[in-house]
Homo-oligomer: 355 residues x 2
Amino acid sequence: MEFPKLRNDLILRAARGEDVERVPVWAMRQAGRYLPEFRKVREDHDFFKICRTPELACEITLQPILRFDLDAAIIFSDILVIPQALGLVVEMVPGKGPHFPQPIREPQDLERVATTVDIQMELGYVMDAVALTRVRLDGKVPLVGFCGAPWTLMSYMIEGGGSPSFPHAKRWLYTYPDESTKLLGIITEVCVNYLVAKVKSGAQMLQVFESHAGILTISQFRQFALPFISAIARRVKEALGDEAVPMTYFSRGGHHAIGTIAESGYDVISVDWTIEPEEARKLVGPNVTLQGNLDPCALFSGEEKLASLTRDMLDKFGCKRYIANLGHGMMPDFKPESLEVFVNTVHSHSEKLLS
Amino acid sequence: MEFPKLRNDLILRAARGEDVERVPVWAMRQAGRYLPEFRKVREDHDFFKICRTPELACEITLQPILRFDLDAAIIFSDILVIPQALGLVVEMVPGKGPHFPQPIREPQDLERVATTVDIQMELGYVMDAVALTRVRLDGKVPLVGFCGAPWTLMSYMIEGGGSPSFPHAKRWLYTYPDESTKLLGIITEVCVNYLVAKVKSGAQMLQVFESHAGILTISQFRQFALPFISAIARRVKEALGDEAVPMTYFSRGGHHAIGTIAESGYDVISVDWTIEPEEARKLVGPNVTLQGNLDPCALFSGEEKLASLTRDMLDKFGCKRYIANLGHGMMPDFKPESLEVFVNTVHSHSEKLLS
């Protein structure tokens, strides 16, 4: 398929370690409830209905691009479409988050999980949304595709929703290590095929979200997270060959492991706000691009303070091998103007630093 | 007041860096819902009713001591009794946790917060519970008193309950830094007087709980947490003089800061399960006792695996300047037998290592 020519490849160059004239910037969950135009669409449509309707997913993906000078779009979807494709029911409960009416609790529940997934049949709607959005973006910025990391998806599937410590999921790691490995393998297989299909449909970069790294011990991370995220990076790149795109791994609370992750095949490591930029660079070494990491709550600050915090972040990360972002996603209570201050400050300050 | 003579001072010696013949062990939330005898008391009494009734608080404090070979008792109470003493209503909602019907949301809400607290009048029930329990313990093991750390208490008071990221409380730090400092100062004052009173009532060791360290940036930790917890250690010890007892600081997710905390006057630093023992020791240096840090969910394991994980923890921490504990509290779904395996393995393995 022929897509419009890309006019802003800043983020792709930063991911590959090439020179940039200004630092690329985007924000996780940049299409979200903090935007009145997003809330308006949500008034009429259920969350997963939007994910499943390419025209709506495309519209919402483009909303922040129309408002702000962002350097990437990320397709509107949810990490839990993979558990759905595996046969589980997932609902989005307003004000509460995701809910699985029938989570996996014991090994025999694995019978309810598909062992293989026909990506086009189960998740074709995402591919349609990606292709449509790539066309509508008209080459303005690259389109990012994403999935949840296997451990994070497994923890939701077992816990059945959010939790401070995911005790049910953790119980599996201790009680059923073999079954855990089996489930992680099934999820990994779907992630690989899903991400490859996304690129073939038009995604120009990929991000894997590990939201629940911070509840694992280091040895659990090495056993139940790292091998699977490494496999995803390796296999997606192998499958795509010359078409391979830069890949990013984001983890919340996974500092104990980011040194190891840097050797696992990802081009970009996205870090949360609790690690200092200099420390993150020391841990990942010079050959990986860092992404992050302003405390999202800094967007509650007044304009001047927010700009100052953003400049400080840039000064610490430097402008090479760096993609500016928040340390986690945008929150419903933020004012849209705050994201504008963040984005514009990244651009103006980095242009100054690079001139 | 004359109390029965202490017959097991292992934990006090470990806290002071003295020699021990076996490693002391206890578990955070060792008096809790995982015990059938606890659930039985809770059937008839509201959570805070138990805190406010010395006879009941004492009974529950002693429950795990009667069952297991623990080296410390911790008075049954809650960190949120301080916000209550400051004038806020706090309810414990079953299956959901603490709930403030009227949280602090804007600076003018500080008018609802008392500026000084008469500890005996507002929290005398805790002192009565401490004194009664100290007598009933009959010198078997030391009695630990505790409070929440100022930032953790402030975050609950503003957020109004648990939250993955405490956005309202974080907003205060960015938007109202002066008012945040003022509120933290008020809380600190109460913590100091409260802990001093606890020791005067019979507590033989103190622990400060920082449950929400992991959502702060490093500079926020330095500005809004560290000065206040340092002040607590310094002022409590000054006020007690010769009567001073060992003090422990526990933080969840506060690794970025434990090196600094080690210089803030605490005798013991209690770490969660996401940090490796060797790394924790490297960060705190040789002159502080470490406490922790088995992943609580390891108690879901079978007996053999749990014992092996416990031995591994001991091998890594070593037996000097060390108090065995979990990396966080006991959970309702645990079997009481698991804590028994943990406690007995700490004792038998450390005796072997020390012989």
